[in-house]
Symmetry: C2
Subunit: 530 residues, 2 copies
């Protein structure tokens, strides 16, 4: 039951071998020259060559992991069948539209009433530029993409405990943070207090850098001026003709800025997964799942609830319930790729060895909540010049995500009114969907008073109550990973697991895809080896 | 010839009056409550009420200033005629497409060979979120907009003199800058070297902020780690399944980073005009000029070269040459709005008072160069994961702008290969268009070696050689503005000037529009006053 090393060696393994033998500089050079430095392990469609001699594969779950496996294995000549619990493809790749109905654990049913074309992505909503596998599948499946804005300088940073609860524009906090940090460091440098760390040569350049980056004046001070307004915005913008003078704005004081903790939202945009550029499918993230579903057609059996997974030396047998009244059924195949979340899989009898079973049982699933709110008009654009991006708050809703599509539209718009993890999401999940929406409106109206008059409909998805995942994504601690990850991913007889939980990019669709591609590559080698 | 104050008072003037009487805090409160803080002076379509009794206005120039004036005055009941030098509307609002021909001063003619739908914007290319007048005209004229990316973390920062000429990714420079700055400031704070400036209470929060923002470890050090790779990118990204370990990248050393001066490109994205969100018209900036032109139809007379502008107590008479063979002609009206750039206007006889004439003659025009390059494929996306945004270099081409449209397209793509001002642009302008393109390819291939094999066609516009502007935009120094700006903008008898040069947003279309709207508001009051 131990996985054999991959042969032929893939590029990633080659680079690692070079690194081990010749050191990281040579590895980096090799990677750079082959155009692979700093990129996803994905380097184009996976080649599964060789005669599979009619081998069959049963795939459990029609999320992006399961459907990418199905697509590639079908193309390689396998007999493929996919069993899916829901009545639609995609899994957590999912958009809720007007007319959709969603019933969560506990029985609450929500009837989504969004206007045509508007949606909430309860699950993933962003595709970073370096998620090359997912971008490539979008291209192959003809899913149109459009830019997703993460950082918007007009959006708000808000703390109920700072500035009398008045939200500040991102550009104001960003400019004042740079300015105060730059001024402090320049002062220390000018007072020769960095001399142990910084050479005279570098000190001169550092001073120049602080002035440029921090918008400091010639005395290295950050204060109200045209120079500073040109970063944080004006009180009144420059105009044209004779009524055109600008009025400078007042920077936030260092003490107030520090204690507000609004600076804590700046680093998000610097994080690799949230850096520009980012994309989203036109019409909702669920367009990817739909496209995979169209491509696979009758290979996917919907409304199939898996109840048992058995294997022996000759094949795999899966018992499932046809939830549309078809009763108990059985599917069989030579091999099985199981993408059912560990949170669900741990409750299903499965014949795998103790190491994989322990891994499945050990993995905890994160909680998360998303609330979509439809408003009569896009007041964030019309009143506040916020086109896309995210406002952050220390209230339990955590953030407000503005739609990155249909800019300037006169019709209604749907905001992401809450997206939060951990304790706040548990509190949210304990409420009825109606009360979750009510709370979200309460919080959001502290940032946008227009909430009170413009709200129309909402929908709230608490991931711990999603019947087919019981959580949003696998939560790996370093300890859990060291103990269980390899056992979770190794092929166990005729069964291999795939999905975001079987990757080092948990909660990301790219992780699900790369996990799936790695699993089928190994499975294919096993099949060819006989 | 002195301009009377506007009555009724507009909002801007009201806010200023409040500020003068009650101080800036009250003014800010008033502006905030009316939803106007930090916004353009534009607050919706200009109301020009009252009976204009058949008054006529001659408008010189069909750029966005002239055409917005024509549109509003026509709607207010004026008889309007526009004279335009070119055979198209837009002026500097301009896109060059395949099939277009452009002849510059000196006689060089370029035949643009771009593939269908690809273009270069020789003039403006960005619309910031706070340019509310331009955004509103786009909406009124049904010009579709799409996001423009300024900051792309995958784009390059390049210096021929640093890192052996090897370009660095923006994310690497950004992360290492934050990290080193954060480490230095945290160290100074921990050694009690900021105690004169920072209270004990704020110091604790500052340390926390530096750790968060700079990706510092628990000892406040910035060094190679998973934490740091999660900002600057990995040597090898995390993946899925069993071949999924990530490999950390090596931060640039503080000394190398400082001396490289690559940090100097970071602040651009923080500047008010270049902050996210930014837009561009779908299909090229010139779509705005085209839409205005369609709206105005026969009101615009093209191919009309103005040769003299005369006024007396009863009206304005403009002599012009019909450059399509129609010979010398004359147009007359009660009033005139002249949007001809000062660089051209200073060469045309005009009956205005000495103050306005001195202002016209005093204004210098900036030089600028833009070079568009078509390549066989979008290698920057396919090979390097750069989707839109800008790479900066200290070579004379200054930057490379990647197209913010048609992402993931398999066909050819057009880059902005050079966009530079000042000395470099003069050197560029001295070359033939062919040699400008050759130079641009030489520079760019130091960043993208693919230039050498993928290049197809190019076009180069040097603004000092554009016959109808002789420069890209008015260059106001503080001294020039103090001496001449009010004289340039004041109504002189029956003539008023408008355009970006008559604004405090020089070189921006928003400046041209706000200048125009202010000019027609004042002119309209004059007309109604009789």
């Amino acid at each position: 039951m131990i996985d054999k090393p991959a042969a032929p060696m893939n590029r990633r393994s080659l680079f690692k071998l070079i690194g081990a033998v010749a050191g990281s500089a040579v590895m980096y050079q090799a990677m750079s020259e082959l155009g692979h430095a700093g990129e996803s392990g994905y380097a184009g469609p996976i080649p599964l060559k060789g005669d599979v001699k009619g081998a069959s594969v049963l795939i459990l779950g029609a999320g992006v992991a399961g459907m990418s496996a199905a697509l590639e294995l079908r193309n390689a000549g396998y007999k493929v069948q996919v069993l899916e619990y829901n009545d639609r493809p995609g899994g957590r790749n999912w958009s809720l539209y007007g007319g959709d109905t969603y019933t969560e654990l506990g029985g609450f049913t929500q009837h989504v009433q969004f206007a045509e074309g508007l949606y909430l992505n309860p699950g993933p909503w962003r595709i970073p530029y370096h998620h090359r596998a997912l971008l490539d599948y979008c291209k192959r499946l003809k899913v149109a993409l459009e830019p997703f804005t993460q950082v918007n300088y007009a959006a708000y940073l808000h703390s109920a405990k700072a500035f009398g609860g008045k939200p500040q524009r991102y550009r104001e906090v960003q400019a004042d943070f740079n300015g105060h940090v730059g001024e402090l460091l320049a002062k220390a440098a000018n007072q020769s207090r960095l001399d142990e760390s910084v050479s005279r040569e570098d000190k001169e350049v550092l001073l120049e850098a602080m002035r440029d980056w921090g918008a400091l004046d010639k005395n290295y001070e950050y204060k109200k001026s045209l120079l500073v307004s040109e970063r944080r915005g004006y009180l009144s913008d420059p105009g044209g003709g004779l009524t055109s003078d600008s009025v400078d704005s007042d920077p936030l004081a260092f003490h107030d800025l520090m204690q507000s903790r609004l600076w804590s939202s700046i680093s998000a945009g610097h994080v690799y997964e949230f850096q520009s550029s980012i994309f989203q499918p036109v019409g909702g993230m669920g367009m990817i799942g739909k496209a995979f579903g169209r491509e696979l057609g009758p290979l996917i059996q919907y409304n199939a609830k898996v109840t048992e997974i058995k294997q022996d030396g000759r094949g795999v047998t899966v018992a499932y319930q046809d939830t549309q009244g078809g009763g108990a059924k059985v599917a069989q195949a030579d091999w099985c790729i199981c993408t059912i979340p560990a949170s669900i899989l741990s409750q299903i009898p499965i014949t795998v060895g103790a190491p994989m079973k322990a891994a499945i049982d050990a993995l905890y699933y994160d909680s998360a909540i998303k609330v979509g709110l439809q408003f009569k008009r896009r007041f964030w654009e019309q009143d506040e010049s916020i086109y896309g991006g995210i406002s952050f708050t220390d209230l339990p809703n955590a953030l407000i995500g503005y739609p990155n599509s249909r800019y300037f539209d006169d019709g209604p718009g749907v905001l992401l009114g809450a997206y939060t993890f951990g304790a706040n999401s548990f509190q949210y999940a304990a409420l009825s969907p109606e009360d979750r929406i009510k709370k979200t409106l309460e919080y959001g109206s502290q940032i946008h008073p227009q909430y009170k008059t413009e709200f129309q409909h909402g929908v709230a998805v608490a991931w711990h109550r999603v019947p087919w995942t019981l959580g949003c994504a696998g939560h790996w601690t370093d300890e859990l990973r060291a103990k269980h990850y390899d056992d979770l991913c190794a092929i166990d007889g005729r069964i291999v697991l795939a999905g975001e939980h079987a990757s080092r990019l948990p909660a990301w669709q790219e992780g699900a895809l790369l996990s799936s591609l790695d699993a089928i590559r190994r499975l294919h080698e096993r099949v060819l080896a006989g």
